[in-house]
């Protein structure tokens, strides 16, 4: 696409329009433009999603109304939405930090599972004594989850840094391996009564929930939002600080923008590749830990309906800004929560795909100004 291309104003077949379409590169991007375009892109995506829903015989208006009501309609469901948003914040952060360096970690899903596995191992293998208080059990689980997730990020990071192996494919392959590994443990090692799940953890390994405070504050009765949300928000602030207020974050962003300049500036790209992938994996692992300690209280299969992949979309929608990841995750948490009951089952995934497509397609409007000019 070039500057002022008048050839584009002629439609196929040589039909001449009464105006000319001019495409010019933008020299200055106003601050309000980027969020505006994102919002428009999402609206267009929802419209297209409605079209597909209508095509397969669904009722898009009812489906969307249902999603809105089932996700944000009352304090109770909003609390459930926050429960879904918690792991999404962590996977969204994991993707944001890696994408800032143009490291395409699409293995957050596997790192999430590994975090859950790590946090379970310390409980089920007796690293944490059965009578240990919550203040001991939870931090050990947290560390184990982060370490396991980081280890799962280390593999593609090291392969990329040392052997220049494409991290997209290795991180994705590790997803399948992580899920098979978790399956081995829940089927073969810790299966509880032949079911595909481990025994329930002792209560000291549960993250506190809002409903735990229901005796003092009756309004909180039945609310499932758990302490993992606090982890998530704190993680978002820390990642934001690292990325935008620390020297390390400056290095990460410089490598992402211009690796050659970063190299000339003496930044160690190899080491940063490994560390950023570990940080990314660690945050995703924290998500897995918080999910099993806060929601299911045991290790089981399908703890994630694709949180790691939705994290990619969230990161992109948030323009890789950790603080924007928070509200975006709440929206997607609502979509996932309400989407569970919508038939056909692929609809949430479809809408996510359309949203991501519209987002990246709409970025052309940030780079180019498209004007209609009347022919003289």
């Amino acid at each position: 696409m070039t500057g002022s291309d008048s050839a584009e104003s002629r439609l196929p077949g040589g039909i001449r329009l009464p105006f000319e379409i001019q495409v010019e590169p933008r020299l200055h991007v106003p601050r309000w433009l980027s969020p505006l375009i994102s919002v428009i892109a999402i609206l267009v995506a929802l419209l297209l999603g409605a079209l597909v829903l209508a095509l397969v015989g669904g009722d898009p208006v009812r489906a969307y109304a249902h999603i809105a009501g089932a996700a944000f309609g009352s304090l109770g469901v909003f609390s459930d939405t926050l429960v879904k948003a918690t792991p999404l914040i962590m996977t969204g952060l994991a993707c944001s930090v890696a994408f800032q360096m143009k490291l395409w970690n699409i293995g957050a899903e596997g790192q999430f599972y590994m975090g859950a596995l790590g946090a379970s191992i310390v409980i089920l293998a007796g690293v944490v004594p059965a009578d240990a208080p919550r203040l001991v059990a939870i931090p050990i689980m947290l560390v184990a989850g982060v370490v396991f997730g980081a280890a799962w990020g280390l593999v593609p990071g090291w392969l990329k840094a040392r052997l220049r192996v494409n991290e997209i494919i290795t991180s994705l392959m590790l997803n399948y391996i992580a899920i098979a590994l978790v399956n081995y443990f829940i089927f073969g090692v810790w299966s509880e009564g032949g079911f595909q799940m481990t025994r329930t953890f002792q209560q000291a390994a549960w993250l506190p929930r809002l409903s735990d405070l229901a005796e003092q504050f009756p309004i909180l009765r039945g609310l499932t939002t758990h302490f993992g949300l606090v982890f998530a928000v704190v993680a978002a602030v820390i990642v934001w600080y690292i990325l935008f207020r620390s020297l390390w974050g400056y290095e990460i962003r410089l490598i992402g923008d211009n690796p050659r300049a970063a190299k000339y500036a003496g930044i160690n790209i190899t080491r940063n590749t490994v560390f950023v992938m570990m940080l990314s994996g660690g945050i995703a692992g924290l998500g897995g830990m918080s999910e099993i300690a806060g929601v299911v209280h045991r290790l089981q299969g399908s703890i994630s309906p694709g949180y790691g992949f939705t994290g990619i979309i969230i990161a992109w929608l948030a323009k890789l800004n950790p603080l924007v990841v928070l509200p975006v995750s709440v929206l997607f948490g609502g979509l996932i929560l309400a989407g569970r009951e919508i038939q056909p089952a692929g609809v949430p995934r479809l809408i996510q795909g359309i949203i991501l497509f519209m987002l990246i397609a709409s970025e052309v409007f940030l780079r180019y100004r498209i004007r209609l000019v009347r022919r003289p």
Binding site: Y176, A180, G188, R349, I360
Partner: protein
């Protein structure tokens, strides 16, 4: 654990990877990375199966599969070629979109019942070659033979024809190709669609011939991603893609078969006595993909080979630096 059966089935499964990998080689040779193979294969598998269920015509099913996946890849083309969006993210979006569309339109298709599979053939003379005959030319699906044809044709097209030269020029040095009078955009669109159509064919081959039916996302089970990895192992060469594809096909079959016998090489078979070890077998294709990538990357470093020089870069006429 009959090696002939394993290799016979391996060639059949490998054909799926072969189609997808060679399709992606075309797109990447033109400079466009398309990570959406998994999504396009799912669309292909779903549409081939549903059309065949509805019409009973497998050929029609394959054609629709190629059109559907090719059409989907066109979206990737518009976004990355004209809009210059990041090819990685667009490919991921395509994966989501393809998966979502195939799940939505494939709803209930798993209960659709049986279809008549694509025919199998035995090639009269070739089938009597010792060892190779029973593996390659006996009772294989027509798609397998199509795969045999595709490999040399693709290689010849890319390396020995004028359009193939143009294809490589657009992927290595689009500015020079443009100066030669080639339409960079038009060629890139064409090869993205070739890649998409072949991915659709790969999907259709699964659902109509290799493991017939529609099993939602499990239909492909990550094969699209394995194909993306195989392209790197193959160094963008169809012959190496064939080798990699068939080897992976054989591996998948071995994994299925290895849990059968009580003894393995004269030892107690741990996979028979502890079926849970099967989960480690399931990891193997993915672990092998990583291993194969490491091999491919090391080789590329040593021989100073590499991806097409303009792979992943949008082309903007008049901008320097590509």
């Amino acid at each position: 654990m009959d090696p002939l059966i394993i290799l016979h089935a391996g060639v059949a499964t490998g054909t799926v990877l072969l189609f997808a990998t060679i399709g992606e080689i075309f797109a990447e040779r033109a400079g466009v990375l398309n990570l959406g193979l998994e999504g396009m294969m799912l669309i292909g598998a779903m549409s081939a199966f549903s059309v065949t269920v509805a019409t009973g015509n497998g050929l029609l099913g394959l054609i629709v599969a190629m059109l559907a996946a090719g059409g989907l890849s066109l979206l990737h083309g518009v976004v990355t070629i004209h809009f210059q969006a990041d090819q990685v993210v667009s490919g991921l979006a395509l994966t989501f979109l393809g998966t979502g569309l195939s799940l939505v339109f494939g709803e209930g298709l798993n209960k659709a019942g049986a279809i008549s599979l694509l025919p199998t053939l035995t090639i009269p003379v070739l089938a009597s070659i010792p060892v190779l005959g029973p593996i390659l030319f006996t009772k294989q699906s027509v798609m397998v033979y199509l795969g045999y044809l595709l490999v040399p044709v693709a290689w010849f097209y890319i390396n020995r024809t004028r359009p193939g030269l143009h294809l490589r020029a657009v992927g290595e040095n689009p500015t020079a190709a443009d100066a030669m009078g080639l339409s960079v955009y038009r060629l890139r669109y064409s090869y993205v669609m070739v890649g998409g159509s072949l991915a659709g064919l790969a999907g259709g081959t699964i659902s109509l011939a290799i493991s017939p039916g529609w099993f939602s996302e499990l239909t492909t089970g990550g094969m699209g991603w394995i194909a993306v990895g195989l392209v790197i192992f193959a160094q963008w060469d169809p012959w190496r893609a064939a080798f990699g594809g068939y080897a992976f096909g054989a591996l998948r079959r071995t994994i299925l078969d290895i849990q059968g016998p009580q003894t393995l090489l004269g030892l107690r078979n741990p996979f028979f006595f502890n079926p849970y070890f099967g989960f480690f077998l399931q990891m193997l294709p993915y672990a092998f993909t990583i291993a194969v990538l490491i091999i491919g990357s090391r080789e590329a470093l040593r021989k100073r080979l590499g991806a097409p020089a303009a792979l992943g870069l949008p082309y903007v006429r008049g901008e320097r630096g590509h």
